[in-house]
Symmetry: C2
Subunit: 189 residues, 2 copies
DNA sequence: TTATTCCTGTACCGATCGGTAAAATTTTTA
DNA sequence: TAAAAATTTTACCGATCGGTACAGGAATAA
């Protein structure tokens, strides 16, 4: 019994990497079998809903990780610490631009329509959490909201450009720019 | 003779929309047939290299359109005019965030490796052209380069967020922010 | 008008697609 | 240890995949 849960959970990060690499449409069941080391039967045993359930589980897991590691600290830790922690965690998670954001990637093609609520929720939660941190740091609500959105935009755009140019430089530069821009919240304009 | 060229060219925008909607992997030949109104025979007659040649032709056509409409004006027109023209053209082309950037989308999954030079070329040319305009407007080379890169990052990220949140608002806000940020080039800091 | 070239529709290929069924095996529970 | 449940293997399904072959129709050139 414990084994089922443990192994289903263990499959999720492997599925995530496969979806990252091939996209939702490009990730065929046979590829997902190879990546997870599970046969078709096992995979469908864990995810009776097939590929769609696998992707949903992956998105849920990503969202959960971000909620615990990034969103929640943004709402509770001292703002400067939380924001800088977010930037470090994001740079680490996305491997300085070499690893893509699954949520962002899903948003860019027809896959979006299948998972619209999950994609919306991920960015909405992030946006809200960051805006709260910036408000706590002293930014007026409107500025906090717009700086928060701008930050998410910059992160996602940096991932696109780092991938397209096959270089960590755009991502690294963007992250430092984000750090500077957000620091006005506690250092004043 | 003239008919062949004309119809092959006419197929490209239709193929482009199909690739935008389904992604490269999700765009099956039968879907591409439906969208273009061409049978398999005709499609393979125009693009003997199959789907890969179709996507390459689409990317080339996109690149060509941007070169003429955006990159070239950036290098020749008066800077302020060129930059504002770029922003307007981009907002129009991407339908205020409802239409994705094919190049950006291709960069985010395994499709990138097939078309790496095209993706790199598109962003590199854009980046250079914008940096040149900003330098001509009076920005020091280093600032021009970083402001140019930041602009492309913001545009791509805005497309991701507008799609994910299913709203034009993030894109519109980002474009106005870009307009403001770049105006320091000719208005001074 | 004839010959040639260009274009299209149809049928077909093997491979792979997502998904199912059930037997066989392992693991857990009693 | 025996029964029950969880898990994996294997074979298989119809549909669709990307791609090819080719015959016939349509336009163009001679």
């Amino acid at each position: 019994m414990a084994r089922l849960v443990a192994e289903r959970a263990d499959a999720i990060p492997l599925l995530a990497e496969a979806f990252r690499e091939f996209g939702f449409e490009g990730a065929s069941i046979s590829r997902l079998c190879k990546r997870t080391g599970l046969g078709k039967g096992s995979l469908y045993h864990f995810f009776p809903g097939g590929k769609e359930e696998m992707a949903a589980a992956v998105l849920e897991s990503v969202q959960h990780w971000f909620a615990g590691t990034i969103f929640q600290p943004l709402e509770t830790l001292p703002p400067a610490e939380a924001v800088n922690g977010m930037i470090d965690a994001v740079a680490d998670y996305f491997q300085s631009g070499r690893r893509i954001c699954l949520v962002g990637a899903f948003a860019l093609d027809g896959t979006r329509d299948r998972f619209a609520p999950a994609l919306n929720g991920y960015f909405t939660q992030w946006h809200k959490a960051l805006a709260i941190a910036l408000q706590r740091a002293g930014l007026p609500p409107a500025e906090a909201e717009s700086a928060s959105l701008d930050t998410l935009v910059t992160i996602q755009g940096a991932l696109v450009l780092s991938r397209a140019l096959d270089s960590e430089q755009p991502f690294r530069a963007a992250m430092e720019q984000v750090r500077q821009r957000l620091s006005v919240a506690w250092r004043g304009p």
